[in-house]
């Protein structure tokens, strides 16, 4: 490797900012990265407003405004390798769940009916207009690498950057969150689906065994499983496993309901129906991408319509 530093740009599209914070969260390891990388455009670390040419470009977030689209296109032009960084960039992420509502509903809720503020005007200057739909980055520009995670744990960020810098394959596994969870999957006798308002599940045993929905087995581990190891079921924020993405008839709800039915006395169809009724939650992080949207098993519009039809009746 030559002594010349690898130039890096990052930019922040429609997202929560967490992924950029996660980059800074490399702590002392960031010094190791800085040995070989020169950070140029990076909203949380530098005041560089333009986009200098770079070898690596990290994009977080999805495309929802003109600003996002413009930034994505310029980054593509200026960077040799574009990494879609974080679940928003890879699958549309939580922001992609905006698909479940119309733009008008979102604007109304945020600016007119927000329960926590008193504003009553929808802004029409300064902020760029909300596009009709959320668009995952890779429908706007070509993406070279994908790093899911909401945000990805620094362990994976460091490994990804280090492998790129050193020109080698990243040493990561395709394990699901269960692979790092410390709970034991035992066969339990739960007869109905429960939630944490009903009871605090025993921390020694798998949530599924106790009748609680946990998406760990359907979720790629890019987080080191903090949630199930600290008393909270996995909500799938890193997006689905490779198995779900490659197999057309495996899906988040089919995988979880099959396993949960084997671990409890609850019928698989009951679990599957429950997950369809709560689809906005179960698919919150990955509903905007065609990687999920093109699956023959993914009928989100029907599931939402079924529930909302019932509410309106």
């Amino acid at each position: 490797m030559s002594d010349e530093k690898i130039r890096l740009n990052t930019d922040w599209l429609c997202d929560c900012g967490g992924c950029h914070v996660a980059l800074v969260d490399l702590h002392e390891k960031i010094l190791q990265v800085l040995d070989s990388v020169e950070i140029q455009h990076c909203p949380v670390l530098t005041d560089v407003k333009d986009y200098p040419p770079a070898r690596i470009g990290i994009l977080t977030g999805s495309v929802r405004t003109e600003h996002d689209r413009h930034a994505a296109l310029v980054m593509r032009e200026k960077c040799e390798i574009i990494i879609a960084f974080g679940t928003c960039a890879v699958y549309g992420g939580l922001h992609g769940a905006g698909l479940a509502h119309s733009r008008e509903e979102i604007m109304e809720h945020v600016y007119r009916r927000s329960p926590t503020t008193k504003t009553d005007t929808i802004p029409d200057a300064e902020v760029s207009e909300l596009a009709k739909m959320v668009t995952p980055i890779d429908e706007v520009i070509d993406v070279d690498l994908y790093l899911p995670g909401c945000p990805p744990h620094p362990h994976f960020i460091f490994e990804s950057l280090a492998s790129l810098i050193e020109g080698r394959e990243p040493r990561v596994t395709q394990d699901s969150v269960c692979g790092r969870c410390k709970r034991q999957m035992i066969k339990g006798d739960a007869r109905e689906i429960r939630n944490t308002l009903d009871e605090v599940p025993d921390e020694r045993f798998c949530f599924l065994s106790q009748g609680h929905i946990c998406l760990g087995s359907a979720t790629l581990d890019r987080c080191l499983a903090p949630c199930p190891n600290h008393g909270i079921a996995c909500t799938g924020c890193a997006g689905p496993t490779m198995q779900i993405l490659t197999e057309p008839y495996l899906d988040i709800r089919t995988e979880v309901s099959d396993r949960m039915a084997r671990l409890t006395a609850i019928d698989e169809d009951i679990i599957k129906t429950y997950m369809e009724k709560t689809a906005k939650t179960q698919y919150a992080y990955a509903m905007a991408t065609k990687m999920i949207g093109n699956k023959p098993t993914f009928l989100i519009k029907k599931w939402i319509a079924d529930v909302e039809g019932q509410i309106n009746e």
Binding site: I83, D138, D144, P148, G179, Q184, M185, L245, T246, P248
Partner: protein, 83 residues
């Protein structure tokens, strides 16, 4: 010759693999509460255990790879790019 490995650290002890294997190639160690490869010679490489394993703890090598008729092409084109 098929090789199989179950990574203990990732095994959650659910026994799904033991229950689903059509040839009883796997067994369960009650002391450690982990699945173990009992007779790899019996494995027919159906990969049922790998698919049902919740954590991705089971790896096979040297098995005959069957080409799928249908895959999600949109994802498959991107698959090699995942970090």
């Amino acid at each position: 010759m098929i090789h199989m490995k179950i990574r203990d650290a990732a095994c959650r002890g659910c026994r799904f693999c033991v229950d689903i294997c059509p040839t009883d190639a796997l067994s369960f160690d009650e002391a450690t509460q982990k699945a173990v490869v009992e007779t790899v010679e019996d494995c027919i490489g159906c990969l049922s255990c790998g698919f049902i394993c919740p954590s991705g703890a089971i790896r096979h090598e040297g098995h005959h790879v069957v080409k799928n008729f249908y895959r999600n092409l949109y994802f498959s084109r991107r698959m090699e790019k995942f970090l």
